[in-house]
Amino acid sequence: MEEKIKAKVMDSRKIKRALHRMTTEIIERNRNLKNVVIVGIRTRGIYVGKRISKLINELEKVNVPVGVLDITLYRDDFSESEAQHMVKKTEIDFPVAKKDVLLVDDVLFTGRTIRAAMDSLIDLGRPKTIQLLVLVDRGHRELPIRADYVGKFLPTSKREIVQVRLKEIDNSDEVLITEPPGIK
């Protein structure tokens, strides 16, 4: 059975505006943009990160490199999950030590992914700062983690699913709230 789509909370125009606003905030907050690097968390964080990098370049003519972080090896739910997760590559071909690292993900939920991402990043070097950007913050944190830049705050119930779809891999730009099949 297909999951049920309950609401479309962002369309491509809204996503674009949110990205523009967050880019401006990043530029405001980081006087030394040349020291900023972007690290996108697999999978959709990569594309959000790339778009932010492009927008920074358009506005400020600064080239901010984008790396890819795979957090599978740092997950804390190995013994709980059913089968193993496929490990993919971490591809960060620039040093993160002493950099202002902008960590990017699509959805902020429990905060466990971000915990894993920060542990992973710190093993690669000691960043000067780590800032967090998410397209959607849906609440229900299980760890004391917050984002520095948020595209949209979205109050949700825990059983709902927030789906971010991005043109690069999903053929459309939208944020949906869905429910798993079998729940009324």
Binding site: L73, Q84, V87, K89, D119
Partner: protein, 312 residues
């Protein structure tokens, strides 16, 4: 894509997609060993036992480093002749170790089938690190990983395996793996060490190395086990060298971009001449390096995720 085995006993019962999963996973682990902090917390809290009934430095250390780079705890048991002389049976040894609650046991034993036997009563994940002349699956996987790095594709790759095929678990695991992946294999060696029965595996047999290397993409030299030389499988080392040693002249008959492999340890001047071992086409040290990534992948795939039903 998933890898659902509880144990890694051999290549023979793996599917193409499972082999590919291991190789792809190893691809991701490769980079960890190049970092300044060569460690990830993935298998924290897991205990692994390296149980070696036969001497080994490379395979044992490779497993040990792989486990440590995944943050698992690993204990080495090297049961040489003296401790076996105390009379404990293989089964009792395993049961004793199991009482210490390990998660995985890596076994090397001189008897073919030792790991399989252990898997019939053990609760732990069993990894075969070489059993007699049966299989050495992680060696074949790291060889495949190295070939894929160099050659991209296994389809119609011509692989020549040279040496003591009869006693070689490395050869058997490689034959199983490469045949599944679509490579063409030619086995070469003296008739006393290369039984005709190997043709059943869908390989070609050639007793003439000069002839066999023609057009080869990969030449894999196996170690001549000097300790078996007492049994007179060939008249003399000098004769073996004359007929089956890889020299520059012989290597010249292979394809231009052919590579030389060897599972180690090499006998310089026997299986291959020193200049061949050190030349740019030799990937022998890459094999060692890749061994860690491949073993990390195997440990991860067996130990990551929930306990699985034994299907081996």
């Amino acid at each position: 894509m998933a890898f659902t085995h509880k144990h890694l006993l051999g290549i023979q019962n793996l599917t193409v997609s499972e082999i590919t999963t291991v190789l792809d996973t190893a691809e991701s682990f490769y980079e960890i060993s190049t970092r300044e902090v060569k460690k990830v917390p993935t298998l924290i809290g897991k205990t692994i036992i390296n149980l070696f009934f036969e001497p080994s430095t490379r395979t044992r250390s490779s497993f040990e480093l792989a486990a440590k780079r995944l943050s698992a705890d690993i204990v080495n048991f090297n049961l040489n002749a003296s401790s076996a002389a105390k009379g404990e049976t293989f089964k009792d040894t395993i049961l004793n170790l199991e009482a210490m609650n390990p998660d995985a046991i890596i076994i090397r034993h001189s008897c073919s089938g030792a790991s399989h036997y252990a898997s019939t009563f053990s609760q732990s994940n069993i990894i075969n690190a070489g059993d007699g002349s049966h299989e050495h699956p992680t060696q074949a996987l790291l060889d495949a990983f190295t070939m894929r790095q160099e050659k991209k594709d296994f389809q119609n790759l011509k692989v020549v395996i040279v040496g003591d095929i009869l006693h070689s678990r490395v050869a058997r695991s490689n034959i199983f793996l490469l045949r599944k992946m679509g490579a063409r294999i030619t086995l070469v060696g003296p008739p006393s060490l290369l039984p005709e029965e190997f043709k059943k595996f869908g390989v070609e047999i050639d007793f003439n190395l000069d002839h066999a290397v023609k057009g080869a993409d990969v030449i894999m030299m196996l170690r001549i086990q000097m300790e078996r030389q007492t049994k007179n499988f060939f008249p003399s080392v000098r004769e073996y060298r004359n007929l089956y040693s890889l020299s520059a002249q012989r290597f010249g008959r292979a394809k231009k971009n052919a590579i030389i492999m060897h599972p180690g340890p090499i006998n310089r001047g026997v299986e291959l001449t020193a200049d061949m071992a050190d030349c740019a086409k030799s990937v022998i040290l890459k094999q060692v390096e890749n061994g860690i990534a491949v073993r990390m992948a195997v440990l991860y795939l067996l130990l990551g995720g929930k306990d699985r039903e034994a299907i081996d």
